[in-house]
Symmetry: C2
């Protein structure tokens, strides 16, 4: 049985990061992670909004705080990945990470600005989604997309109140 | 010979979108697009920053304004894709889009809030990177990642002033 995937977002700052962190939470859910943990400044509105979206669109995803990310990451029982442009190439490493997830839980750490050096040593994998500057939102999405080999895009979300019927023209939304 | 890929970002608002739009521009470059066009509010700082990153990290990428996105999209000579959660599934459609890119240029439209209905009709493909709410940054990254089949992550950027040497521990940066 496969493990669960939790995304840990470091160093959130309410004023600056609200949209990027919200996108990280939504991406975590939409690309198949089970949970999202917010570190840094407390931001009730951001968490409420992520959990509200999860209830509306379905699935078992939940977002919560993590007060001590160092302790949490150190003591996490499972495989640990840190997404960083300085790490090893995603495509070369993802097979190993998939095999770890097949038998244990997985923690995926995404930073904001500077990630404390300590985290590079706590994790099992420092992974670069390309060695170019871009976006933690993009890195997280492409990482999860490769982890689940594209199947996450067909995931069914249980108990959804609303669902989109794919369409070439316009918007086709079903209320359930 | 393959065509060029241009990303068109609709409806930018300086106050609200600066980081998300910047992430879209950086993702466009890092995931292999050739150019980025900003629509909506003029934002010199955002474009300067994207072009500065491109000079520092190398490659031929450039970011610029587009004053009339409707006209630009209508008259664009090539295949046109709009990324929207209401569209057809990425994985079912991407093969067709790759074949179009093999012989012509490609325009990729990403919206901000509400995209005017007109754009759904202007494009050849309305594509959903999952039919769940998440992020235009994520949608763009995963779309380009599938378009280039992962090869974009190994792209060499010519004339880079700085380059990362992938590493499991810490940061290994080479100035060239």
């Amino acid at each position: 049985m496969a493990g669960k995937v939790t995304v840990l977002r470091l160093s959130h700052r309410r004023s600056r990061d609200v949209r990027v962190t919200s996108h990280c939470a939504l991406v975590s859910r939409a690309f198949g992670a089970d949970g999202f943990l917010l570190c840094g400044e407390r931001d009730e509105a951001m968490l409420l909004s992520a959990n509200k979206a999860a209830r509306k669109w379905g699935g078992g995803f939940g977002a919560d705080y993590c007060d001590n990310p160092r302790k949490f990451a150190r003591e996490f029982d499972g495989a640990k990945v840190h997404l960083t442009m300085y790490g090893l190439p995603l495509m070369a490493e993802i097979g190993k990470i998939r095999r770890r997830l097949a038998k244990e839980n997985l923690l995926v750490i995404v930073g904001s600005e500077k990630v404390p050096a300590e985290f590079y040593g706590i994790v099992d994998f420092n992974i670069a989604v390309g060695s170019q500057p871009h976006s933690e939102v993009a890195a997280l999405a492409v990482f999860l997309h490769e982890l689940f080999e594209g199947r996450e895009l067909e995931k069914k979300f249980a108990n959804a109140k609303i669902r989109i019927i794919p369409s070439q023209n316009g918007k086709n939304v079903e209320k359930t």
